[in-house]
């Protein structure tokens, strides 16, 4: 099974500053999908950004961007101009391209982000 590692259990950032959350994964597959999910205290898990492994260009969504390093199996999330509403637990996830019984997501253990006013 694939493994996803988030080595930073907790991070903090000053409001308006930039923070980077780390994620590494282990896989032998060449085609796959990577995601960052955000879970605020209200606990609804929300998709932040996704990256297809076959795309070399890093995905961006407004203030959120990723640094996808396929050879290094690294997928970090950068949050620019941090806002108080960014405070949440962030989960990195890997999705196999397989269908049927191989159709699974693998999650890291999460990084709790605090935004300091």
């Amino acid at each position: 099974a694939q493994t996803v590692t988030q080595s930073q259990p907790e991070m903090s950032v000053q409001e308006a500053e930039t923070v980077t959350l780390s994620c590494t994964y282990d896989t032998s597959e060449s085609d796959y999908y990577l995601f960052w999910y955000k879970q605020p205290p209200s606990r609804q898990m929300i998709l932040v950004i996704r990256q297809e492994a076959y795309k070399q260009q890093n995905a961006t969504e407004n203030r959120f961007s990723v640094n996808f390093q396929k050879a290094a199996k690294s997928f970090s999330l950068k949050i620019s101009d941090s806002q108080l509403g960014d405070a949440a637990m962030y989960f990195c996830a890997y999705r196999s391209p397989l269908s049927g019984t191989g159709n699974q997501f693998y999650f890291g253990t999460g990084t709790s982000l605090t935004v300091i006013p």
Partner: protein
């Protein structure tokens, strides 16, 4: 808009009770998942289903079963609830190669 609905936000049950957690999605997604979320452990997959009446064990299926009689509904069953099943339970659905859409979660306490 995409919607995954879990029937209860909070649930308190007694040890030994049979517990049903219901999840309904309105997006015609083939794939549905049940996760358990505990502090420091992230999300652990209990069961998933890739089609009606099809189910696959995840990482921690012991003590749980599932039912998917209709495409839109995926139920998680705790046959005989135990205190170590006190947790947050998250349901999610996804189309092929898509991202997960999560419900609001059910906080289950077993006393």
């Amino acid at each position: 808009d995409v919607k995954v609905t879990q029937s209860s936000r909070y649930l308190v049950k007694r040890t030994g009770e049979k517990v049903f957690l219901e999840c309904v999605q309105d997006m015609d997604h083939e794939n549905m998942f049940w996760y358990r979320q505990d502090p420091g452990l992230g999300l652990r997959l209990i069961y998933f289903s890739y089609d009606v009446k099809m189910k696959e064990k995840g990482d921690i299926p012991e003590g749980y079963s599932v039912s998917r009689e209709k495409k839109e509904r995926f139920s998680l069953i705790l046959e005989s609830a135990s205190t170590n099943q006190t947790s947050m339970y998250l349901c999610a659905s996804t189309p092929p190669r898509g991202s997960l859409h999560f419900g609001n979660g059910t906080r289950l306490t077993v006393t």
